[in-house]
């Protein structure tokens, strides 16, 4: 089974590839501008966007494309975060942090550079996904959701209780602030590229078949278990790296950081974008991350001398939950449905628009 090439032959493939290249270059340029002229606050938001884009795209891969409703991304993020943090902290720092119970060997002596720690984080998360897959894929639908949710909770509890590995509730502090625009956006672009490739390959077709009708897919000869497992592991891998990047952004992590709330955020993003559409996830990640910051404005009171504009704390989440419910009732397809962005369609659209414009003259 090959991962090369699109399934359908596309006469405009060379042109499209060139356009993608140019677009990526444009993005890099824009990021450079942000890096040079943007305030740290804006950069932080952009980094958050990138990490959530990557995590949403990989979450969409298992939920939207394969149709397996997992509620476990927070578990993988947690595993990835702790793994990469433990690897990049120097033995000295670890000793300082673990004041109640000393850290267990060999974790006490391992010290790796950032990139290596991220890759290992992804692999450990993927491995956990592999182990989880066996009980998880024994069930379907709602049960799968609850079981994955349960695993998320179990991971949190284990992180809280294994003092000698994770430092328990004390968490890890003083993690190096490695994550910057380059790392986060590099990761986001890599994730989008890789997942997109997967979706357009024959693997992707099989996964979509499973989403559409699992029993039929099984009947046609697709090994549904291993395909679902594959999607789950891939999703876990990228989720884990995302967690590692988050850890090196916030520089202090604890078990309470990776709760169902993180999953809920990702869920809103992929539903808003359209379950099954990578493009949708990217757009929605932007909207939700930035929207989240903007909505903050309504939550905070401003107190100056005599004037007091009260805020309503918590409105942000109410709005998001309401949005999710309304989406499901009225616009289940989200922004993009299952469609993806394609240069062909975009150019067709622009050409049609230009022709229309000219015909009006």
């Amino acid at each position: 089974m090959g991962l090369n090439g699109a399934i359908h032959s596309d006469p405009f493939r060379r042109r499209n590839r060139f356009l993608t290249f140019v677009a990526t270059g444009l993005l890099v340029f824009l990021l450079y501008i942000a890096h040079t002229f943007g305030t740290e606050y804006e950069i932080r938001i952009l980094i958050n966007c990138a990490i959530f884009i990557a995590m949403a795209v990989s979450y969409n891969f298992i939920n939207g494309v394969t149709g397996q409703f997992s509620l476990a991304p927070n578990a993988f993020a947690a595993i990835g975060a702790y793994t990469s943090a433990l690897l990049t902290m120097s033995p000295m720092e670890k000793q300082l942090s673990f004041i109640i119970e000393p850290i267990v060997w060999p974790l006490s002596v391992i010290h790796t550079p950032f990139l290596v720690s991220l890759i290992i984080a992804g692999m450990v998360a993927a491995f956990m996904g592999f182990l989880m897959g066996f009980p998880v894929f024994r069930v379907r639908g709602d049960y799968l959701a609850i079981v994955t949710l349960g695993f998320g909770e179990v991971v949190r509890v284990i992180a809280n209780n294994t003092q000698s590995i994770t430092n328990g509730p004390l968490g890890l502090k003083g993690i190096a602030h490695h994550t910057n625009l380059a790392w986060s956006w590099g990761f986001a672009i890599a994730t989008i590229f890789f997942i997109n490739r997967l979706i357009r390959s024959s693997y992707g077709l099989a996964l979509k078949a499973i989403r559409y009708d699992e029993s039929a897919a099984e009947a046609v000869g697709i090994d549904t278990f291993w395909h679902k497992m594959f999607a789950f592991i891939v999703s876990a891998f990228f989720g884990g790296i995302g967690g590692g990047l988050l850890a090196h952004l916030i520089t202090t992590i604890s078990p309470n950081l990776f709760t169902f709330f993180l999953t809920f955020n990702l869920l809103i993003i992929i539903v808003l974008g359209g379950l099954g559409s990578t493009t949708g996830s990217v757009i929605a990640a932007f909207v939700v991350t930035i929207g989240s910051e903007l909505l903050r404005f309504f939550e905070e009171p401003i107190f100056i001398g005599g004037l007091h504009i009260p805020g309503i704390p918590g409105m942000r989440m109410v709005i998001f939950s309401l949005l999710l419910v309304l989406l499901m009732i009225f616009a289940r397809q989200g922004l993009m449905g299952t469609r993806e962005f394609s240069w062909n369609r975009a150019i067709d659209l622009m050409t049609a628009f230009r022709r229309y414009w000219e015909s009006k003259k």
Partner: protein, 378 residues
């Protein structure tokens, strides 16, 4: 199909609207901007709300500094570390504050500390008691005591005043504050000659402590050290009473919230804890002024968290006045040389290490109110 278009349009419009509002509402004024980040929602919202009430009262008593009005910016860190870091980032980069007051819990203060340290903006925390908050940092300060002191005082009080020799511990494992404090207590208590007869754990959010309490009852302790937040403390006391666990209970500053009494009811009578402030023990003129102002506005007794919120504000304003400038490094210097400032919670001095040298009060619950027991000086 139509619904989707409507939703898309709505999302885009809302987006643009919010963007415009935010961009247009930048205030340009001749004020001194001070940021505040506190948990106004979330698990420890009680502390944040109380501290904010204290800060507001202090602001009314001293609304200007260096001849300019003080402008306070409050950001809710939602009892969450990521939000705390974002809050500090926002205050510094977007609102461009000259100093920050916050936050209530040590973990969240640490989350924002490195950002402030890098930007050379001083943070002064009302109640972050973990020693690591100010360690190896130049721009982070606090107006409260630190946990090693708190644990030691508790151990000493238990051993000498209560004559306890056998201590049981019930520790909230989910909070580093609780775990650390229990550790400090244990070290000192054992050093003095006592013994820990039972060590059980719980988690924030737990409601049922009957199993742990049964184990504690069986170990026959002289005292139960319960260094947790008020929510768990209240329930533990109630269930202890139900199970017939008749042991004096000693706790820490996290217990001083009105919910402890409203939820615990009769079962918290006699509950003792090390704390920041008790109005009967107030000695300074500022304290009396504050108590009057606070109580007339808030219809409730002035208590530990709000008093320290006020102290953080007063100390900061005093430092800015002494520095005669709103530049970070200069405020920092002034803060690090605070000598014998007569604050609401007592007379305190802050040194290069960022920590406040001051006394601690022991409080207990009597007749349904927090009452002063005694003061202990370092």
């Amino acid at each position: 199909m139509k619904a989707k278009k409507v939703i898309t349009a709505f999302v885009i419009l809302a987006f643009l609207a919010a963007l415009t509002v935010v961009l247009c509402c930048s205030k340009a004024s001749d004020t001194v901007k001070i940021g505040v980040f506190l948990p106004m929602t979330g698990g420890v919202a009680s502390y944040g709300q109380m501290e904010w009430a204290g800060i507001k009262t202090a602001n009314e008593l001293k609304p200007t500094v260096l001849g300019k009005k003080v402008e306070l910016f409050l950001v809710d860190e939602k009892s969450d570390k990521i939000e705390a870091a974002n809050a500090v980032s926002r205050l510094i980069k977007k609102e461009k504050v000259v100093a920050i007051i916050g936050t209530a819990t040590s973990g969240n203060t640490m989350a924002g500390a490195s950002i402030a340290e890098e930007a050379k903006v001083p943070i002064i925390s009302p109640t972050a008691t973990d020693p690591r908050v100010t360690q190896n940092r130049k721009y982070i300060f606090r107006v409260c005591f630190i946990d090693p002191f708190q644990g030691a005082v508790a151990a000493k009080y238990a051993f000498e005043s209560l004559k306890a020799r056998r201590a049981a511990l019930l520790i909230d494992q989910a909070q580093d504050y609780c775990v650390d404090l229990a550790n400090f207590f244990k070290q000192d208590f054992v050093k003095m000659g006592g013994s820990i007869v039972s060590s059980t754990f719980c988690q924030s959010g737990d409601q049922d402590f009957t199993a742990q309490l049964s184990a504690i009852k069986a170990s026959k302790p002289d005292i139960l050290y319960l260094p947790n937040y008020y929510t768990e403390d209240a329930l533990v006391c109630k269930q202890a009473a139900e199970l017939g666990v008749k042991v004096p209970i000693l706790s820490a500053d996290g217990a001083q919230a009105p919910e402890l009494i409203s939820i615990g009811g009769k079962s918290v009578e006699g509950f003792m804890f090390t704390g920041h402030f008790a109005k009967e023990g107030a000695t300074t003129a500022l304290a009396k002024q504050y108590i009057q102002s606070y109580e007339s506005k808030n219809k409730t007794d002035a208590s530990g968290f709000d008093a320290l919120g006020a102290d953080a504000y007063f100390v900061l304003i005093d430092a800015i006045e002494r520095a005669k400038s709103t530049e970070g490094p200069k405020i920092r210097e002034a803060l690090a040389s605070t000598k014998n400032f007569a604050g609401v919670s007592g007379v305190l001095s802050i040194g290069e290490d960022g920590n406040a040298k001051k006394g601690m009060v022991m409080l207990h619950v009597k007749d349904g109110k927090f009452r002063y027991l005694t003061t202990i000086n370092p």
